[in-house]
């Protein structure tokens, strides 16, 4: 994801702004990192450049 996406992405639960924590990036993309809700503190992972903004209970790996 580009950093410019921060303007429009919000916490799926309370729609508040998110803070970006970068783990790995290229010149124009964040590849690994976290989006943290400025209100509820929930953390959403960014993996292989794709932010996962599913509500936390839909994100967990369910038992097979």
């Amino acid at each position: 994801m580009k950093e410019s996406l921060m303007e429009i992405v919000r916490c799926p639960m309370d729609k508040q702004e998110l803070e970006l924590e970068v783990i790995q990036r290229t010149d124009d993309e964040v590849l690994e990192g976290r989006l943290v809700c400025s209100e509820c503190g929930e953390e959403y992972p960014i993996e292989e450049g794709i932010p996962n903004l599913l509500p936390p209970d839909m994100r967990e790996d369910a038992p097979a």
Partner: protein, 225 residues
Amino acid sequence: MTVREEFDAWATEGRDRGMEDRHWHTAKHALARMPVEAGDRVLDLGTGSGYAGRAINDTTGALVCGLDGSPEMARNARSYTDSDSIEFLVGDFDHLPFADDTFDHAFSMEAFYYAADPHEALAELRRTLRPGGTFYCAVNYYEENVHSHDWQDSISVEMTRWDMDEYRDAFRAAGFHVAAQDTIPDRETEIPAESEFPTDEFATREAMVERYRTFGTLLTVGVVP
């Protein structure tokens, strides 16, 4: 099974590209009607392989967000494009991870009815579209298309089967104006000769003709007041 489990499995089996091929026959006609301008921001809801977002980005220069509940679908979609004005996100229809008034337009093909609560999905679209923004909602699974009624048997995610009136009513209840509704025929899916019937899917050739050439894809267009 959850949306994530079901469609991660589809993506891993490569069914995303198969859907793209089949859905393009009618999706392209819906896409061609959208009043997208260069610089607009457009949402592709349940993006699958991401073809609709790629087409919108290619033809209009709009910025596209492809959202899907399946991480594997989003990963595949991302691998099919180099455009730096398309982003893919994993997220749920009923919990859109976007600010109010973010999008100029939204498109969805064969995905909307998987929402756990389609009324909530419409409310979320209404919230994230700007005034004058449109939601182009295309589905092959709907009440009038009797040939779709048994699809639920082979999909573990619960599907909502509204008829045309119910789509209009639900759009209005969510605060959309309904600007258009019609069925777009699929003129491209090849229909075998009479002698090939019954097939696995169709008892008669007439049934298959009706499924594709008559019912095709139901498109409902909502506009935010």
